[in-house]
């Protein structure tokens, strides 16, 4: 088990390094430079050159890369070109909103998916099952921004019970602010979770251990919940890990719809401003988070499924 963890972490480190290098190269190749953005179209070539020198962008790409890697190794991700805020400070400032969003999305989606999938599997082949599957297909096609706006227009604005946007300053305000974004995110997660879990449950219900349980007189609901669900949940764990990683980036649409000051929005803003230290810093942080999510997911699977440990 320990060697497996070491292997996963070593692979993750290599992946993070590769992402960091790739992002650095892509930014260098992208049209538009920070000095031109900061100074605007009214800047002279001399002004741009002067600011490039101030920002250290007149050095060779290799020198800039070496400087950046050196900073990362010592825990210094540099400062934003705008406002001199440290990149680590900015990440620390913007990560909580994203973490709340992901947590809310999972807390809403996983129980809901389990309930729908259990019901669907329990009544498989019936009209209810077909209806639930059709609903998940439709839900999969709903764009997050559209659903978000719909929730704002139909719930937040008329009732004033929930904020139309923002994140608030206190934990209770965060909680109120995250409900609608959480529902929006959950709506995009539930369809896939339901389909994966239902398929797992249906498969499990055909297995010999379920037949054995039934032969012992175990009731159909207990068979479903106590015997089929634990085994069918393993693929769900993998899917949730993938969805979490995806939502780190895809959640930006929801962040922008609900004005959540999250990490995805910060990344989009930084790309638009060609704020290289922030773009590379956030990408690096997200790569680390994704590697961690993936590693934790695999470790959980190993813990839950002895066959994984043997593999």
């Amino acid at each position: 088990m320990r060697s497996a963890v070491t292997r996963r972490l070593a692979g993750g480190l290599a992946l993070v390094l590769a992402v960091m290098t790739l992002v650095f190269i892509i930014l260098q190749a992208a049209p538009g430079d920070p000095a031109s953005v900061i100074l605007g179209p009214g800047a002279t070539a001399e002004s741009v050159a002067k600011l490039d020198a101030q920002l250290g962008l007149d050095r060779s790409v290799l020198a800039q890369y070496a400087d950046y890697v050196g900073g990362v190794v010592t825990g210094d991700l540099g400062d934003s070109y705008y406002g001199s805020q440290s990149v680590t400070g900015l990440i620390g400032d913007r990560l909580p909103a994203t973490a709340w969003l992901l947590a809310a999305g999972l807390l809403i989606s996983v129980p809901l998916s389990c309930a729908i999938a259990l019901l669907s599997a329990h009544r498989r082949g019936t009209l209810l099952d077909r209806g639930l599957r059709a609903v998940t297909v439709v839900a999969l096609a709903i764009p997050s921004f559209w659903l978000g706006l719909l929730l704002v227009l139909t719930i937040a604005l008329p009732t004033e019970a929930l904020p139309v946007g923002g994140f608030g300053d206190t934990a209770p305000e965060h909680f109120k602010s995250i409900i609608l974004p959480g529902v929006t995110l959950a709506a995009s997660l539930v369809p896939v979770q339901v389909r994966v879990l239902r398929a797992g449950l249906v498969q499990a219900l055909k297995s010999e251990y379920v037949a054995a349980a039934r032969s012992r007189g175990v009731g159909s609901v207990r068979v479903l919940v106590d015997h089929a669900l634990p085994n069918a949940s393993l693929p769900l764990l993998t899917i949730v890990a993938v969805q979490l990683s995806y939502a780190l980036f895809a959640g930006v649409v929801i962040e922008q719809t609900f004005q959540l000051p999250g990490i995805g929005s910060a990344l989009i803003e930084a790309v638009g401003e060609r704020d290289y230290p922030v773009v590379t810093g956030i990408t690096l942080a997200l790569a680390v988070v994704i590697v961690l999510i993936s590693t934790v997911s695999e470790l959980l699977q190993m813990a839950l499924d002895p066959r994984m440990r043997l593999a």
């Binding site: 049209p31 538009g32 100074l39 605007g40 179209p41 741009v48 705008y82 406002g83 946007g165 929005s265």
Partner: protein
């Protein structure tokens, strides 16, 4: 481009329409105002950047020696109380207001002014505007002397620009980076906190030198990811003011909440790359100008909220007494076709058009121009880039036509200075005539002389078409019903220090 400007027309928001309306009662002291914008400020150090949010927020935290007047033709004293010229206009002596204190309690002295103006002069952003200043020296604690290489009639106006804000000497004992995090000024509000991309919170400066100001206890600037989210927040009552909302979005608010300020401080214009291809021929440039139906653009894209351009200097930046010749900007497709046929035997040209595709209005304008110019034989290949890439392409000359929206240039000479310094905004133009006009403007002793210089500049632009002006869009301001009796300047926006809100 320069982002600070001089007032020209003052209108009121919170009461609808475009005419001033006040209750006559002084606003109630206290309260908090929340202002929305879709762009975040870039820096608190005023000479570092030229973006509008930084300029507006900085104007609440810092003061300048002079401030733009409300009539478009002058400046008013702020931290300076007197301005005298000697040595044939080559020496300017500025007397400072006494009793002004920074947010940390330190008194304003000439040392602070010398530090700030020297920093402005050295800044990459706008330092070239101070090129004529040879020396900046303190004369005792309450006066500063500027020695110029030549007379500069617009010096006071340049000192009223936001990047010429006065900061404490040596950043008040901090490094520039530390100052960026804890800025100190003499302005009506002090900085409480800033969260990049989220919000800036300001609180009343109780030591402010203007009696009775500010009215508010707190002022918050919130950044929104898009116009829709900002508009929704306004409808939900979590926002009080939206500063310069895109005209397409403003139309969705009730008239009572929106004020359209005019004359415009903006001109939407096409940068023209005269270094290559058919655009090197003046007839092609004139054909393009005559092939654009500007009125249709204003009606279609701005819902009529704008004015058809008749020159490059926007209305809010023009000195009184300027005359205009609209002929070079007249829509005449037949003439456009004739000019193109004279310049190019085939009567057709193909040109690239660079624009900011993240801006909905810019994208709509690009498509409208493409359709309009196709009718006269100009095939426009649209090249939509993100904002940074579009600016980069234009600055580096990788374009045939490019869309620009110079904002809030005051006075007119800054348009000319910008045009000359940038070779026609990326177009590679050698603007000797523009230089002469600028020199005449700087040397002019009165508004009439300045107007003549601007006329000469516009004649050069109209006959040569190194840039093609399209229209001057109105500025839309949206306010909640809590905000009452706020005077909005069409160039500098509203003065937050005098705003009061219902509590």
């Amino acid at each position: 481009m320069v982002v600070a400007g001089l007032a020209s027309t003052v209108v009121a928001i919170g009461c609808g329409g475009s005419s001033p309306a006040t209750t006559g009662q002084p606003p109630e002291r206290g309260g908090r105002l929340v202002v929305g914008d879709t762009a975040d400020m870039q820096s608190f150090v005023p000479w570092n950047t030229v973006d509008l949010p930084s300029s507006y927020i900085a104007s609440q935290v810092f003061d300048t020696l002079f401030v733009p007047g409300r009539n478009g033709n002058g400046v008013r004293p702020a931290l300076a109380t007197a301005y005298t010229l000697s040595d044939g206009g080559k020496t300017a002596r500025i007397t400072l207001r006494r009793g002004v204190r920074f947010h940390n309690g330190a008194s304003l002295t000439s040392r602070d002014v010398v530090f700030s103006l020297k920093a402005f002069k050295k800044s990459p952003a706008l330092g070239t505007f101070f090129a004529a200043i040879r020396r900046i020296e303190a004369e005792g604690p309450d006066a500063v002397v500027l020695t110029l290489s030549e007379p500069q009639s617009d010096l006071q106006a340049l000192l009223a620009q936001r990047p010429a804000s006065i900061l404490p000497a040596d950043y008040g004992g901090m490094t520039a980076k530390q100052f960026e995090r804890k800025p100190i000024g003499t302005g009506p509000f002090r900085v409480v906190s800033r969260r990049a991309g989220v919000e800036v919170r300001l609180a009343r400066n109780d030591r402010y030198w203007r009696k009775g100001r500010p009215v508010l206890n707190a002022l918050t600037f919130k950044v929104f990811g898009n116009v829709n989210a900002m508009s929704t927040a306004m409808r939900a009552g979590t926002l009080d003011v939206i500063d310069r909302l895109p005209l397409s979005a403003a139309a969705s608010f009730s008239a009572a909440k929106v004020t359209y300020a005019r004359p415009s401080p903006q001109v939407v214009a096409l940068a023209v790359n005269g270094r290559r291809g058919p655009l090197a021929d003046v007839r092609v440039r004139q054909a393009i100008s005559h092939g654009i139906d500007r009125k249709a653009l204003v009606d279609g894209l701005l819902d009529g909220r704008g004015v058809v351009a008749d020159g490059l200097v926007q209305p809010a930046g023009r000195p009184a007494g300027t005359t205009r010749d609209a002929a070079p900007y007249r829509y005449d497709p037949a003439l456009a076709k004739r000019l193109l046929a004279q310049a190019v035997p085939s009567g057709h040209v193909s040109l690239s058009y660079v624009f900011d595709s993240s801006n909905a209005t810019a994208s709509a304008l690009a498509q409208a121009l493409q359709a309009s110019l196709r009718k006269v034989g100009v095939d426009v290949r649209l090249k939509g880039l993100d904002s940074a890439a579009a600016v980069g392409a234009i600055v580096s000359g990788k374009f045939d036509l490019g869309q620009l929206q110079p904002t809030v240039d005051y006075p007119a000479v800054t348009v000319m200075r910008g045009f000359i310094a940038l070779g026609g905004y990326g177009g590679g133009w050698k603007a000797d005539q523009a230089q002469q006009a600028q020199d005449a403007y700087s040397a002019a002793g009165d508004a009439a002389g300045q107007a003549k210089a601007v006329d000469a500049f516009e004649r050069y632009v109209g006959s040569t078409m190194p840039m093609i002006a399209l229209y001057y869009p109105d500025q839309a301001y949206v306010s909640s019903r809590r905000v009452a009796d706020v005077l909005v300047d069409s160039v500098t926006g509203y003065d937050a220090s005098q705003i009061g809100v219902a509590r």
